[in-house]
């Protein structure tokens, strides 16, 4: 994935705010990349641009050979469904669905697997994040760390090439944060995916293969 000269500007009624300025970077598979920087520096904005949830004002984002800035909203949604996985600071699990049902959601939407295959894969993913005994539990019946691990399993449901995480350990205790951090590293190194995580946590960033530091919307170190 290559990002070239990407700028994201918000036009207010009177002022213009530049969230990301002339950002250029490459994301490689099997790499765990950390984006760091102070609050309000544009870390999350850059992540949302990488995750195709937002469109750049200028610049290009080439992902797996596709120039994504030209894609329609529907094509972007399909791209996200097939190629990207998201993990947020808060787990954002659907509260009425069990852990397994939450993990199945992206698979159901993609519709490539049978119900049986979806269930088997969801169970396997939950087992891989150490939640084999929480499969039928609702989010409210699990701890924050467990919910976040379900969210990781959900992000991996459609075998994405790129997993994007926005402060994935921000809401977790030290033990849970360490578990999540290990899982993300494994996703990059063992499963061969690209993982990009925005973090404030220096310990978390220290174990990354690559670190991108951003200040005032500009990439300072890469």
């Amino acid at each position: 994935m290559s990002v070239r000269d990407v700028t994201r500007t918000l036009l207010g009624e009177e002022i213009e705010v530049t969230l990301v300025k002339n950002a250029s970077l490459d994301i490689e598979t099997e790499h765990f990349t950390a984006i760091t920087g102070p609050s309000g520096s544009g870390k999350s904005s850059l992540l949302y641009l990488l995750g195709l949830l937002d469109r750049p004002t200028s610049g290009t984002i080439n992902m797996l050979g596709t120039e994504t800035t030209q894609l329609s909203e529907n094509d972007l949604a399909q791209f996200r469904l097939e190629k990207l996985g998201f993990i947020f600071q808060f787990h954002f699990l659907l509260p009425e669905f069990t852990a397994m049902e939450n993990v199945r959601l992206p698979m159901q939407k993609l519709g490539k697997l049978s119900v049986k295959e979806q269930t088997e894969k969801a169970v396997a993913l939950l087992e891989s994040v150490g939640l084999h005994d929480q499969i039928k539990k609702l989010p409210k019946q699990m701890s924050g760390g467990q919910c976040q691990r379900v969210a990781i399993a959900r992000a991996l449901a459609n075998d994405p090439a790129l997993v994007l995480a926005d402060e994935p350990t921000g809401n977790l205790d030290t033990h849970s944060a360490a578990t999540v951090q290990q899982i993300l590293r494994d996703i990059a190194h063992t499963e061969g995916r690209a993982v990009v995580a925005v973090t404030h946590d220096e310990h978390f960033a220290a174990v990354a293969d690559k670190r991108i530091h951003i200040v005032d919307g500009r990439i300072q170190g890469n």
């Binding site: 999350s44 949302y48 995750g51 949830l53 937002d54 909203e73 529907n74 949604a77 399909q78 791209f79 996200r80 469904l81 097939e82 998201f86 947020f88 600071q89 808060f90 954002f92 659907l94 509260p95 009425e96 669905f97 959601l105 992206p106 159901q108 939407k109 993609l110 959900r154 926005d166 809401n171």
Partner: protein
């Protein structure tokens, strides 16, 4: 189960009490819509049935719709001709060659026709003159073309066949003049001829005026009394399919020249009044469902406000705006379908209850039951309208739900 349906159901179940109240609104709305529209349609059907059954489908009168064209007008078609003080020749009124016209009509399939001669007569009784309308008919046709036989409370139309001097009168006249079957009455025609008739039958239609003023006897007796031998002033026609009356009336008028009035034409003002009444009725009952639809709007709007994060995460996952909209429209559909499923049986109960009510309107001597239309279209209209209202009520908030921008919501976090 479709993923959209699955999410929609879970959303509704997540707010059980509020969903139930919205559903209850639709159920009651459907039930009232069905009961009221069935009652109104039933009364309309009953009214039209009485209108059609109690009078001929077509009446051919011994008059012309437009004044006859004068020979001078025929001669100068493209000129302006003014004629003054035209005096028609005195002639005996009546339909010329009525027997032939009746025979021709009877040859048509599904058409029954008979000639009648109607005139005024005076019934002198106890020093008082009572004006009545004497209807002269062929007794055999009377059974087929009028409702006299059905309304008989004493005697039969057949008695007119055996007794050519017989007459059938209304129950109100009999009550007023203390007459009974078998009594003789003396009638004086406008020609001055006086004849004595024997009451062979008494009918009651429920309309006091009709039961007081109308009398039926053999056409030949009326022709003799009115000095109109071999004349009839009206041909009455009944058809198996009354809806085709207008077409036949036009044909008869074109063929004979005499004014032929179908029941539709005769009741044009009533039919338009009924149409206006229907518009008012559907507006009122629709308002009930509209209020219920606001309940659905409210619950779905609340769910959307509550589920902004869910919508954002679904969109980030790859769900399209249309998918999100569809999820909330499905919720409206579920509430609408459930409302129809439970509302229609409740409506049936209301209809059954309404059917039990009997009342006696002024001027009618027999109690009347509430007429209810149980036909399928009533159920279909009520169900379809409720479903449409529910879908529309969900469409508006669903559109708002679909427009949620994931980035704005996800930035907010918990």
């Amino acid at each position: 189960m479709s993923i959209f349906f699955s999410i929609a159901v879970r959303h509704i179940l997540s707010r059980k009490r509020q969903s139930f109240v919205s559903l209850l609104g639709i159920i009651i709305g459907v039930a009232f819509f069905l009961a009221i529209s069935s009652l109104m349609q039933g009364s309309q059907n009953d009214f039209i049935k009485r209108l059609i059954d109690n009078s001929p489908h077509i009446s051919v009168h011994d008059e012309y719709r437009n004044a006859k064209e004068q020979p001078v007008q025929k001669l100068y078609k493209d000129r302006v001709v003014e004629l003054r003080s035209i005096q028609p020749l005195p002639e005996t009124r009546g339909i010329r060659g009525y027997k032939q016209v009746v025979e021709d009509l009877k040859r048509r399939p599904g058409v029954r026709a008979s000639a009648t001669l109607t005139g005024q007569a005076i019934l002198n009784y106890a020093g008082r003159d009572n004006s009545i309308v004497l209807n002269g008919m062929i007794p055999a046709d009377m059974k087929d073309l009028t409702t006299v036989e059905e309304n008989m409370i004493d005697g039969s139309v057949d008695d007119l066949i055996s007794n050519r001097n017989g007459v059938i009168v209304g129950a109100e006249l009999c009550r007023r003049l203390m007459l009974e079957r078998g009594d003789n009455i003396t009638l004086t025609a406008s020609t001055g001829q006086v004849r004595t008739f024997k009451i062979v039958g008494i009918f009651r239609t429920g309309s006091l005026d009709y039961d007081d003023k109308q009398a039926f006897t053999d056409i030949k007796r009326v022709q003799a009394m009115m000095n109109k031998s071999n004349r009839a002033n009206t041909i009455i026609i009944k058809m198996d399919d009354s809806s085709k009356a207008q077409k036949l009336a036009d044909e008869v008028e074109a063929a004979t020249g005499y004014k032929s009035v179908s029941w539709q034409e005769a009741s044009e003002d009533i039919m338009s009044t009924l149409a206006i009444r229907n518009v008012i009725m559907y507006t009122v009952v629709s308002a009930v469902l509209l209020v219920a639809a606001f309940g659905i709007y409210n619950i779905i709007f609340t769910i959307i406000m509550e589920k902004q994060k869910d919508i954002a995460i679904l969109k980030s996952m790859g769900f399209l705006a249309g998918d999100i909209q569809w999820i909330f429209i499905i919720q409206g559909c579920i509430l609408g379908v459930a409302g129809v499923i439970f509302g229609l049986p409740l409506g049936c109960c209301l209809m059954l209850a309404l059917e039990q009510i009997t009342f006696e309107p002024p001027g009618v001597s027999e109690p009347i039951q509430m007429p209810i239309d149980w036909s399928a279209p009533q159920f279909f209209i009520a169900g379809a309208f409720a479903f449409f209202a529910a879908v529309l009520a969900s469409y508006l908030p669903a559109k708002k739900g679909a427009s949620v921008m994931p980035v704005q919501i996800l930035r907010g976090g918990q």
